[in-house]
């Protein structure tokens, strides 16, 4: 059972998103970076599947040279090796270009004798939120895909997929090979152990530099949402404010 997980490096935004002067990016000089949350659960699930069924787990990212940090993080959690599609720091790849580069990498693995039975994506990336790279890859590979999953169970050449919907979970049952996109809450990702981190430093990363096609969803500029800042009315300080709060709750009609 060979499993591929595609992840994206994204900044950890704090209380307020600040843009660069040219409005093309988020000012990240004071921010840390992480694997986009949904995909971290994909990594955990892939590690569990390979622990249970054997095979190999591979993590892939398309990102700047610094994205090696996220690949090492994923390998510290137990992924066996990594594929790094290296792009420039200020390059902006749209979903179509990203999917094409990932497909080329999957094809290269195939040529080298490795075929993936299951490919994980996040349901949507934290930053650009396009909801489509996984679907584009699945379509090009002519493989079935289920999206937005909070349950993934591999058994006897099939994958049972659970999608949270109001009042319950819808179930899709797909034959392998398949593609899935997952959401945070799928599992509880483990913390990397110190030995895990040390092993990750020695695991192989295959790097290559794909060439971007011109963006067809072309970013013009980023804008902060207008007029959301409010001046909160201070009801009081400490427990003495309780009567004012209850008055408010009564006024709203929920007390």
């Amino acid at each position: 059972m060979n499993v591929l997980v595609c992840v994206k490096r994204v900044p950890m935004t704090g209380g307020k998103i600040v843009l660069t002067a040219d409005e093309q990016a988020i000012a990240t000089q004071h921010l840390g970076f992480t694997i986009s949350p949904h995909e971290e659960c994909g990594v955990e699930e892939a590690v569990r599947i390979v622990e249970q069924h054997g095979g190999e787990s591979v993590v892939l990212t398309l990102g700047p040279p610094e994205a090696e940090e996220q690949l090492r993080d994923a390998m510290a959690l137990g992924m066996d090796r990594a594929i790094h599609l290296v792009i420039g720091d200020d390059e902006d790849w749209d979903a179509q270009a990203t999917a094409t580069a990932i497909l080329d990498a999957i094809e290269a693995e195939h040529a080298a004798g490795v075929d993936f039975d299951l490919i994980f994506f996040g349901n949507e990336s934290a930053d650009s939120g396009g909801y489509q790279v996984g679907i584009r890859v699945a379509h090009a590979l002519e493989r079935p895909i289920a999206t937005g999953l909070k349950g993934v169970a591999v058994e006897a050449g099939r994958v049972r997929c659970e999608q949270e919907v109001p009042g319950g979970r819808d179930v899709f049952d797909l034959p392998l090979p398949a593609v899935v996109t997952v959401k945070e809450g799928l599992n509880f990702p483990r913390y990397p152990s110190v030995p895990g981190r040390m092993r990750a430093q020695k695991k192989p990363i295959a790097s290559s530099s794909p060439t971007a096609a011109p963006a067809r969803l072309e970013k013009v500029r980023l804008v902060s949402p207008p007029g959301e800042r409010k001046e909160a009315e201070i009801l009081g300080h400490g427990p003495d404010a309780a009567p004012k709060v209850v008055e408010l709750l009564q006024r709203i009609g929920v007390a």
Binding site: E124, V220, I234
Partner: protein
């Protein structure tokens, strides 16, 4: 050049988010006709009410794709039906609601047509290229973007475009049977697992949500949060830091990667207001923040605030509520 809208139905009518999608579709159409696509199994019928509602929202023709696979949700089959219809209508744009399913179906259409897709738009202007404004970071940031190629494919972000009526009379209804391959029909819902946690108030639908973050101090620290939520008949929420620490289940998490809530009042106790969290509570009608730090980012989004330690303030609110109910 018409605009084709993939609509989602709900029992007895049209999903509100599809009506919002129709409103944005009309700005793209600039007076050209609005065509709608709905899918149904042959055993079922699309009620006259649906055609009437769609007509009130500017739809001239409702195209109903009939196929046995539509007895349950089948994303690739819906996408293929839309592609077949689009070949016939040659629309200038194909629009869906920015629901999980709308985004999924439109992404399948985009993959099939090898075209870009702009997900979660709040504004759109036709042209070559089309210009859209769309959500990034769960709505904490906006992006203006050009969408190259035709037809323009986009989904409409939930609850940010008003569903206005634009009476065009009752929509005409035309049925067709799409040609679907076995592969198109492979992915579909085959089973439903009912929620076994029923009984409590669901976070997404609760009128009152009381939440806390790491400021609760421990899993036990949520006792006072649960007490206040119970008193108000509400649900308990939490920040991502809390679920990452393992204090609460992910189902309690409010935020961009958790549950999006829309209560009458959101009482956020010891929540700093990270963008990841605020993306999940934008729908709250009123936000009350309880925080020791008057400079906390959440105060820029809150309507009311109590400055103080949640461990003192929350029990005092519960006690005051009980007192008020006795008199």
């Amino acid at each position: 050049m018409s605009v084709l809208v993939v609509v989602e139905r709900e029992p007895g009518g049209v999903d509100e988010l599809s009506l919002q999608a129709l409103a944005l579709a009309r700005t793209l159409a600039q007076g050209a006709s609005i065509e709608a696509l709905a899918v149904t199994p042959p055993s079922d019928t699309v009620s006259q009410g649906v055609a009437a509602t769609l007509g009130e929202h500017g739809v001239s023709t409702l195209h109903v794709a009939e196929h046995a696979v539509f007895g349950s949700y089948a994303p690739t089959a819906v996408a293929q039906a839309a592609v077949e219809l689009a070949e016939r209508l040659q629309p200038a744009a194909i629009v869906g609601a920015g629901t999980e399913r709308g985004n999924e179906v439109l992404a399948h259409i985009a993959a099939r047509l090898d075209l870009p897709l702009a997900a979660n738009c709040i504004a759109a202007a036709s042209g070559d290229p089309a210009r859209v404004t769309r959500l990034r970071w769960g709505g904490s940031l906006l992006e203006e973007a050009d969408v190259h190629g035709a037809p323009t494919l986009l989904t409409v972000a939930p609850h940010l475009v008003t569903a206005e009526r634009a009476p065009a009379g009752e929509a005409a209804v035309e049925h067709f049977a799409p040609t679907l391959s076995e592969a198109d029909q492979l992915v579909r819902v085959t089973d439903r697992a009912e929620d076994d946690t029923a009984g409590g108030v669901s976070l997404a639908d609760a009128k009152v949500v009381v939440s806390s973050g790491r400021g609760a101090g421990s899993p036990e620290g949520f006792g006072i949060i649960e007490e206040l939520a119970d008193l108000l008949g509400g649900a308990v929420g939490c920040s991502r830091a809390v679920t990452m620490a393992g204090w609460r289940p992910h189902t309690d998490q409010v935020g961009q990667t958790g549950t999006k809530i829309a209560p009458d009042i959101y009482i956020a106790c010891g929540i700093s207001g990270a963008t990841q969290h605020m993306a999940g509570c934008k729908g709250a009608k009123t936000i009350l923040a309880v925080n020791t730090d008057p400079q906390a980012p959440i105060l820029a989004s809150a309507d009311y605030a109590v400055i103080g330690d949640l461990h003192e303030v929350v029990p005092a609110i519960s006690a005051e509520l009980r007192k008020a109910r006795q008199t």
